[in-house]
């Protein structure tokens, strides 16, 4: 972990409930540099989403410290964009107005919005056009397809130029083609704006295509069992994901996850044997 880490976790554990509650995350150390694209992969239930909540300050860690931009996190951060598997757009607002929601909350935009509305609307139009949503600004969310809703959700997460973007399986509910399209959209946005990004996913191809660094987590309690740097050139193409070098990376990560799962299953079996 260099000094330059933008996001830094130091011995972070998270236990839900009281002393005997479930241990969701155990002694995680990791660092993400400014402008870096990190992915967190692991079996389901390994605490990936909890890790996101910890980093954004929505949950306090049980032990350990979390620093973002050099500051210890002890409350919700105010500079983060978030997107989830569920697009969570507000159904009573049209796409444009949904995208502009952060401007109504984050300073200094909040105070400026009223008298500089045109300027902000132009920004939103530009971003929506960049993800292929031009012409849909006035549509209500339920008029959009799932993929379009997710594009709008990404726009909402990015419109205020957050320093940190947190994505929690944002493409998991989409069909394969739409998902790949959105990978490219996200990569383009990231290459242009260079925000620090953390992507939680269970799709290894997605992680390896998008990320600079992949953290592999074990099953509950979640620990980081491996860190991979993906040094493929940018912009990456979908064709690259079928090349031997790429497939080799996937295989390696896959084995690590399988191992992590087996360890847990092994423990469970031996416990059962001991009990009987």
């Amino acid at each position: 972990m260099g000094v330059k880490s933008f996001v830094e976790l130091d011995g972070v554990s998270l236990r839900y409930g009281e002393v005997d509650g479930t241990l969701a995350i155990e002694k995680v150390d990791l660092g993400i540099r400014a402008g870096e694209f990190a992915a967190v992969v692991g079996p389901s239930g390994c605490g990936k989403s909890s890790l996101m909540k910890l980093v954004t300050g929505l949950l306090p860690p049980t032990t350990g410290t979390i620093r973002v931009a050099g500051q210890t996190v002890n409350g919700p951060l105010k500079i983060v964009g978030m997107a989830f598997q569920n697009p969570t757009l507000l159904p009573w607002r049209n796409t444009l107005s949904n995208t502009m929601l952060p401007f109504e909350i984050v300073q200094p935009h909040r105070s400026r919005l009223r008298f500089h509305r045109e300027e902000y609307v132009a920004l939103a139009h530009k971003l929506l056009a960049a993800v292929g949503l031009d012409g849909f600004e006035q549509k209500q969310p339920w008029m959009l397809s799932g993929g379009m809703q997710q594009r709008a959700s990404l726009c909402r997460a990015l419109i205020h130029n957050p320093e940190l973007l947190m994505l929690d399986e944002p493409f998991a509910a989409l069909d394969a083609f739409t998902r790949e399209e959105l990978w490219a959209v996200l990569q383009d946005l990231w290459l242009e704006k260079k925000f620090t990004c953390t992507l939680v996913t269970h799709d290894l191809r997605e992680a390896a295509y998008l990320a600079d660094v992949i953290f592999v987590m074990s099953a509950r309690p979640g620990r980081i069992v491996a860190t991979h740097r993906i040094d493929l050139p940018r912009p990456r193409t979908l064709d690259m994901t079928f090349q031997p070098q790429f497939v080799e990376i996937l295989h390696k990560i896959r084995n690590e996850i399988a191992q992590a799962r087996n360890e847990v299953r092994g423990v469970a079996t031996s416990a059962k044997v001991a009990a009987s």
Binding site: K78, V80, G81, F84, T88, L90, P91, W92, W142
Partner: protein
Amino acid sequence: MTRNRRRLELAMPWIVIIGLLIVWQAVVQIFQIRQFVLPAPTAIIDAFFEYRAPIMDHALFTLLNTLIGFGIGIVVGVLLGIFIGSSRLVYAGLYPLLVGVNSVPKAAIVPILVLWMGIGQPPAITTAFMLSFFPIAVNVATGLATVEPELEDVLRSLGASKLDILRKVGLPRTMPYFFASLKVAITLAFVGAVISETIASNDGIGYLMLQAASQFRVPLMFAGVFVIAAMGIATYVIFALLEGRFTSWATRRQETHFGGG
């Protein structure tokens, strides 16, 4: 075909009401039912026109009591709903009490209210209020309590305060619940006002009916019932229209799914 169906849909309530009245009239005439048991619709209409001036006076009095009680019910219900819906602690503390208050038959409360406020308008307004605030409070609280946690996370990570979340997400999201509760609450407010007028008042439809009953003027009683029903339906329709106008995003979604598949 769809246009004819739509027209039929609009005509259905009238067809049912008129059909019911015809059956009623026929039953009364065929079986020679005496007027003080069940008056025929024509007799009720005659009674209505004969006494329309006093009926309208009393009806307006009831309507006024209902609307004032309902108005207070909206204000208290919404504030209480926000209060309960935004805090788990308040919810735990107040909810059992509210359920208790709501379970007490309001007819049993009226004598107490009379003791405190005298007869006539004050207990009628209070009873209308007491019946109408509960569904509003419960619905508003439900709307607030069911805001998606992820959406809350999005807003909190932008630095939104509790008030911001309430204004931007909580309240707009609660609107469909709120308007649905208004439709229930307005009819309950009528029930409350009439109950109180029946027990302790010298005005209002409730009083009119009680008087008519004591003199065995059964058609007049039924005329009173009809007037209350008509006012109930009219106010219900007004709130249903308001609901459609302010929360079209919540209902239109179903229509598109229906049409678009």
